[in-house]
């Protein structure tokens, strides 16, 4: 018991490894939001008219909306007028042409995070479109991708170089009026990634973006759009870390995926934003709208996420299964430790015939953390022969935390088969005893059991992420035995 106590104390005191602030001069728009600010953002980014209009339309609609209050999370009201909606590294004026021209301090930041951009990118064969606060500063492996015809660039670039694609697909999966945070994002989004994979192309490498929130008081509003044209295949990796800071920071991103006939998109996330300190002070508010649409027949969208960070997570990567025989998958590990709150899950909307979906969700609660799975499986009358399997399991480490499950299951098609299973328990004494008896330390035993608990999800991650995720889990839950 004494060792457990000590381990728990250690756990509680564990500091956020990635907590530091890089001191780079930033260009700010003063805090506050009105139509002028939106015009200014749009102008600064040199956007065409249709984008400005689109932003304004979203803003006007946002004004009529209320913050959602149905999620199982508690936080102080956000003052949207106190947020600065635009920050760009100063060096943006004369944008870097290659890595050598990138602000060395910026590169240092990535080094501290353990992701030496150029090295890592080359070694791992990963093209990285690194987003530093709001403006993309370095993009690698462009040529190789260009050879295959894959467009992988920052959203700002895409708006300028491929306006027709942006215009066609932007907001087609997550419309600007979708929800409060998506509307806000549509109005003020700063930058993000854009991917287009042409017909029949298998993207030659895993695409990856590392996000960082750096400047104080700056909400980060990412917008990602991935379009996989007929018969193409792409795997996209997203990883997040954020520096230590006492104020809560808002992160309201939108990710849209479009899979046309026979296309496949795999989207993997390791989210490790700053979760706040052990008293629950600070930390990121992560209010994200992620949705993919399997528009064509035989298409597939797969979401895999490992959520260990953020003070509050509000995130439901979803699939709209429109095309016949299309497939949606959602694999998730979510951890809520200390005072973290997570309300996460997915929506699977079955529209086309013989559509299939799988949901595997693993929630881990520790400390005072509150972890909720919220999911929707909806089978429409048109989805003949649809199939869903859902499994959501929760693991409780400690008696002050909470684990909740809120699944909504709606079926209006008799030939559809829907199955849902959920369990909640703590690590059993028997399992622990068994491991201890075979000479494992308590901590190793817990790590092993937790990793076993998450295995089904980890095995869906790309290899380099799987290792990272496993280590992250071990560190996050060091010694947290209930």
């Amino acid at each position: 018991m004494a060792t457990e106590q000590k381990e728990i104390t250690d756990l509680v005191k564990r500091k956020y490894e990635h907590g530091f602030v890089t001191d780079i001069e930033q260009e700010f728009v003063p805090p506050g939001l009105d139509e002028d600010v939106i015009r200014l953002i749009s102008q600064k980014k040199g956007e065409p008219e249709f984008m400005t209009e689109w932003r304004l339309k979203a803003y006007r609609h946002w004004l009529t909306m209320k913050e959602p209050d149905w999620a199982h999370v508690r936080f102080n009201p956000i003052d949207y007028q106190a947020i600065s909606y635009y920050a760009a590294p100063k060096s943006q004026e004369d944008a870097p042409k290659s890595l050598d021209e990138v602000d060395p301090k910026l590169l240092e930041t990535y080094d501290k995070l353990g992701i030496p951009l150029h090295e890592r990118a080359r070694l791992a064969g990963v093209a990285v479109d690194a987003v530093f606060d709001s403006v993309s500063v370095a993009t690698t492996f462009k040529e190789k991708l260009a050879e295959a015809g894959v467009i992988f660039c920052s959203f700002s670039d895409a708006v300028k170089s491929h306006p027709e694609l942006v215009r066609k697909y932007l907001g087609s999966v997550v419309p600007h009026r979708d929800n409060f945070y998506a509307a806000l994002n549509s109005a003020v989004f700063s930058d993000g990634s854009f991917v287009y994979v042409p017909k029949g192309v298998r993207c030659p490498m895993e695409l990856s973006t590392y996000f960082r929130i750096n400047a104080a008081n700056t909400g980060q509003f990412e917008r990602t759009l991935i379009v996989a044209d007929e018969g193409s295949h792409v795997s996209y990796l997203e990883g997040c870390t954020a520096p230590m800071r006492d104020e809560n920071q808002l992160h309201a991103a939108v990710v849209e995926l479009v899979a046309l006939e026979g296309a496949e998109i795999k989207y993997s996330t390791v989210q490790n934003w700053y979760p706040g300190d052990e008293q629950g002070v600070g930390g990121i508010y992560n209010f994200v709208t992620k949705r993919g649409e399997c528009r064509g027949a035989n298409s597939k969208i797969s979401w895999t996420q490992v959520e260990t960070g953020s003070a509050i997570t509000w995130k439901y990567p979803s699939c709209v299964l429109r095309g016949e025989n299309s497939v949606g998958e959602f694999y998730s590990v979510a951890v809520a430790n200390n005072y973290q709150q997570a309300d996460t899950g997915t929506k699977m909307v079955h529209i086309g015939a013989n559509t299939r979906s799988t949901i595997i969700s693993k929630g881990i609660s520790a400390g005072h953390g509150q972890n909720a799975y919220r999911g929707l499986v909806r089978v429409l009358p048109t989805a003949r022969g649809a199939r869903n399997y859902t499994q959501c399991d929760s693991l409780l480490l400690g008696d002050k935390c909470g684990a909740h499950t809120f699944p909504y299951i709606e079926s209006r098609q008799r030939s559809a088969r829907v199955e849902h299973e959920a369990t909640t328990s703590k690590i059993s004494e028997d399992q622990l005893f068994y491991c201890r008896q075979r000479g494992l330390s308590e901590e190793d035993a817990v790590n092993m059991i937790v990793n076993g608990f998450c295995r089904e999800v980890f095995k869906e991650l790309p290899m380099e992420f799987a290792v990272e995720a496993q280590n992250l889990m071990n560190v996050t839950l060091e010694g947290a035995v209930g």
């Binding site: 409780l396 499950t405 079926s411 199955e419 849902h420 328990s425 703590k426 209930g482």
Partner: protein, 436 residues
């Protein structure tokens, strides 16, 4: 029914009931609480899948006139025909009004059985006046309830045969009844109770009941309800139970009829070792809508609960299940299971199910499962290969699906009755092979 009309009815009703000033004030407070919010709408998360408009827009008389002697004798006849035994302890209500001549209030030693209206206010258990936060329809019941049943068991008392509560809709359309059932079990008492709900003739009315249960330590309540209304009745009911240490509650709810049915269950396992088992079966077809809403609070440690609901949804039927298990902080060693299994028999059938868990303690074993599907092709093939007609095979499998719940009924006679009623309501019921 607009608020004005409702207010008028309430004012008239308040004058009519001979009750103390406190009771009148309580009713007025309840009515005010209801009118402040009005009927819940689908914007309300608790009513997401159930639209009360058919009830809220219907013209209903909230003060049904007492049944005529002619109606009473017709009910008596029909009960005899249906095989009800006059010798059992029973309370009979017609359109919500207590019917003395058809009831028999003598019961086993230590068990009292009475119509609520006949009890002096001082005799009523305190909880009979409890408010109903979060249950708007129960609040409406609190305002309008004029009668109901009181079943009280002294410490250690036991029923030798099940007590029956029979609620008959007399076929007069447009009546709204708000009966209240109060069940109070002393320490170690054991009571078995069967509620029958039926229509003398098909009619459209609203039955809005509240059942309040308080169980002292070690008591054991078995409660069955066979809701066998016609397919035009509206039926809403709240069952609220509070269980002390080692008390056990065992429920079987069978909803076969009703146009719009909503059952709320609110069970609080307040004493260590308390246990609750809720079993339910519903049939919904021909535009029927049936909604079972459960909240199971594990407040004390070492409590156990199990919920198992099965739905058979046919042509234009709509089934809803919402089960919520809440494990409170420091309520350790909890075992909670929940299952919702649903069979869709028609193309335009719909089921919405939402099994929820909210857990604030760590030493728990909680699980839930939900399934939705149609009859299994392989099983059908198996039966067809053995010479059963398609319809027969379907009915046999459908009945087998229902039988899982029926098998849990401990009283053989009741089990047979429910089985027969289920079989009769299946799409080709009369020919069902499963009636035994």
């Amino acid at each position: 029914m607009n608020t004005e009309a409702l207010s008028r009815q309430f004012a008239a009703e308040l004058d009519r009931l001979p009750r103390s000033a406190e009771a009148a004030a309580r009713r007025a407070a309840a009515f005010e609480a209801f009118s402040a919010a009005g009927f819940p709408t689908r914007r309300d998360e608790q009513w997401r899948y159930t639209d009360l408009k058919p009830i809220s827009t219907a013209e209903l008389d909230f003060a049904p006139p007492p049944p005529s002697t002619e109606l009473v004798s017709r009910v008596a006849e029909s009960l005899d025909q249906a095989g009800f035994d006059e010798a059992t302890s029973r309370l009979v209500f017609i359109d919500g009004c207590y019917c003395d001549t058809l009831s028999r209030t003598t019961a086993a030693a230590g068990i009292s059985l009475a119509s609520l209206a006949s009890c002096s206010e001082a005799d009523l258990p305190v909880h009979a006046h409890a408010p109903f936060d979060g249950h708007p329809l129960a609040t409406l019941n609190a305002a309008f309830a004029r009668d109901g049943a009181l079943i009280a068991a002294e410490d250690g008392a036991r029923t030798t045969a099940p007590i029956e509560l029979v609620f008959v809709a007399g076929g007069r359309s447009g009546l709204a009844a708000h009966p209240r059932i109060v069940i109070d079990l002393g320490q170690g008492a054991e009571v078995t109770l069967i509620q029958h709900l039926l229509d003398l003739e098909p009619g459209r009315g609203w039955f809005n009941a509240v059942t309040e249960i308080v169980q002292a330590p070690g008591s054991h309540l078995t409660l069955y309800r066979l809701q066998d209304h016609g397919t035009r009745q509206f039926h809403t009911a709240l069952m609220r139970a509070e269980l002390a240490e080692d008390a056990k509650l065992n429920c079987g709810y069978f909803d076969l009829g009703g146009r719009l049915v909503r059952n709320d269950f609110d069970v609080r396992l307040a004493g260590p070792g308390a246990e609750a088992d809720l079993n339910g079966l519903f049939l919904a077809s021909s535009g029927q809508h049936t909604d079972n809403h459960i909240r199971m609070d594990h407040i004390a440690p070492r409590t156990r609960s199990a919920e198992s609901f099965r739905g058979i949804i046919g042509d234009r039927g709509h089934g809803v299940f919402n089960g919520k298990v809440v494990v409170h902080r420091d309520a350790q060693h909890i075992d909670a299971r929940q299952s919702s299994d649903n069979l869709l028999l028609a193309d335009n059938a719909e089921i919405d199910t939402k099994p929820e868990l909210e857990i604030y303690a760590d030493d728990v074993k909680c699980s839930h499962g939900a399934t939705i599907g149609e009859l299994d092709d392989d099983q059908l093939f198996y039966l067809r290969a053995r010479g059963l007609a398609d319809e027969e095979a379907r009915n046999l499998l459908t009945f087998a699906f229902a039988n899982t719940v029926l098998e849990r009924v401990a009283l053989p006679e009741l089990r047979e009755l429910v089985a027969a009623r289920v079989a009769a309501r299946l799409p080709n019921g009369a020919t069902a092979g499963g009636t035994r």
